[in-house]
């Protein structure tokens, strides 16, 4: 092709770059009144990349032992130039990431974006959510402070309720019968090696599937197009959609840095086995709805209930025949809204209900 450099041609002959560019030029995104929700997935991806970069930076100084972990984070926060910034960004972006993952999931659910042929994208996304929660749970312990020590005691304790392998699972997670320095070292391994490995594979599958299918248009919009009430509108992904994506990412990064600067993330006090649980102790906000539920129902029932609900949530696309046929399914919309309300209400109660 004329006007192209020799370097381009050299690579093109070997990697068929023309083909990739052709795909990128062709890629479009549907444009309608719900289009805003399409940007949430990209936001999750951006925040994940922020986590990878800041996580690697934290690794330069962090020490994963009971004796040194708290002090090493203290060192990062007080001595290392911009250490306070890197760690605070890692913590704020982590929470924002989980928040956007939830928004992404519920928006996809309510727009029935999981319907045929996108079931596998939904399933890979559901597993990515569990991985994200695993990142949150394992990362929370790493500064080795009192709240993290207690939260890890509570969280890992649920493992014993898994039938047949519960005791084994508990010891696998804790590195012994109790939460000790062995648990910290293990969680470090999960957080920086095991989970990133699994996450990379799942994320690649998730994104490749999305590229092959394109974005899903909601059933209601499809109906309007069919009946002539609306026209099918699309915008190019490169550069129109990407520029809008990047605008959102810039705003998110700005917010994270603003929060990190004004309110650097707390370190708390070092984990001490001799200190009791303080009043109003609760896990990270994204576990609060489950934690609060266990105040009202027997432990076994609560844990079993959430396990069943989680499995149903994963296989739900296979049960939604109506959406798969391109019909509106109000029952599934109600299920989605009910699940969302349950999470919001129980999280709210967890924060405002008196401790006694």
């Amino acid at each position: 092709m004329p006007g192209r450099s020799k370097v381009y041609e050299w690579f093109n002959t070997r990697a068929d770059i023309d083909n990739i560019l052709k795909f990128m030029k062709k890629k479009t995104v549907p444009h309608h009144r719900y289009s805003l929700w399409y940007y949430i997935g990209g936001m999750c991806l951006f925040l994940f990349i922020v986590q990878v970069v800041t996580g690697i930076l934290l690794l330069l100084y962090y020490k994963p032992t009971a004796e040194a972990a708290f002090e090493s984070v203290q060192y990062i926060m007080t001595e290392v130039p911009f250490g306070w910034l890197i760690r605070s960004v890692h913590s704020y972006a982590a929470n924002l990431f989980i928040g956007f993952v939830f928004i992404h999931m519920f928006s996809v659910f309510l727009m029935k974006g999981y319907r045929k042929p996108r079931e596998l994208t939904w399933v890979s996304g559901a597993f990515l959510l569990f991985i994200a929660l695993g990142f949150g749970f394992s990362g929370y312990l790493l500064p080795w402070n009192q709240l993290a020590y207690l939260a890890t005691n509570v969280g890992t304790n649920f493992a014993v309720m898994v039938p047949f392998v519960g005791e084994w699972l508990l010891e696998f997670m804790r590195g012994g019968p109790e939460v000790t320095g062995a648990t910290l070292t293990r969680f470090f391994g999960f957080h920086v090696a095991v989970l990133p490995g699994i996450c990379t594979v799942l994320l690649a599958a998730h994104i490749i599937l999305i590229q092959r299918h394109g974005m899903s248009t909601p059933v209601s919009i499809e109906k309007e197009i069919e009946t002539g009430k609306a026209r099918r509108l699309e915008i190019p992904f490169f550069p129109n959609f990407l520029y809008r994506d990047m605008l959102g990412w810039t705003l998110a990064l700005g917010l994270i840095i603003l929060l990190s600067t004004l309110f650097p993330w707390e370190l708390g006090e070092k984990a001490d086995i001799l200190k009791p649980a303080p009043p109003h102790v609760r896990p990270e906000w994204f576990f609060v709805f489950m934690y609060q539920t266990l105040k009202y129902v027997p432990k076994a029932l609560g844990v079993f209930g959430f396990a069943v609900a989680g499995i149903i949530w994963i296989i739900l696309p296979f049960m939604d025949g109506k959406s798969n046929r391109g019909e509106r399914n109000r029952i599934f919309t109600i299920i989605g809204v009910a699940a969302l309300l349950y999470i919001i209400i129980f999280t709210f109660i967890g924060y405002v209900a008196p401790g006694e």
Partner: protein, 152 residues
């Protein structure tokens, strides 16, 4: 009797069995590796939880019992020099494994996580804990209060 197994099938079988055996031989050490060896047995050993005079009547203290916390309480109006005035339990709440504390205003053991209350026998008074706190035996030797996991 004279049924012959085709040569290819036999080879496939041997190959599959070989790969399977290799898999088991590889995974077994890995599966064993991820569970740590038993820590030197705590068994029925005892720890010095406090000194006499350290606790006033109607006061509790959390002490380290192996890798888990325990709680020692000098009962209200109890004689600090008598072992029977003390009560010791695991400090790990039976509900969700939070660490409990002594509430001198209520004269109860209390878990802050979900507002669980236990009496000074370890029995659940109210809240979600499903069972009593395990009680430890208290003995006094010299001026130290020893707690052991033998049946109280």
């Amino acid at each position: 009797m004279d049924e012959k197994i085709p040569r290819r099938e036999a080879i496939n079988y041997l190959l599959g069995a070989g790969i399977g055996a290799l898999g088991v031989a590889t995974l077994f050490p890995v599966a064993r590796y991820i569970i740590p060896p038993e820590a030197s047995g705590l068994g029925s050993s005892s720890v010095a939880a406090a000194k006499i005079g350290e606790l006033k009547p109607n006061e509790g203290k959390i002490f380290k019992f192996g890798n888990a916390p325990g709680i020692l309480v000098l009962k209200p109006g109890g004689d600090p020099n008598s072992a029977s005035s003390y009560a010791a339990f695991t400090a790990v709440c039976t509900h969700l494994n939070c660490t409990v504390q002594y509430r001198d205003d209520l004269k109860e053991i209390w878990c802050a996580c979900h507002n669980g209350h236990f009496d000074l026998n370890g029995k659940v008074i109210s809240g979600p804990p499903p069972e009593a706190l395990r009680e430890y035996r208290v003995a006094i030797k010299g001026d130290e209060i020893f707690v052991s996991s033998e049946e109280a």
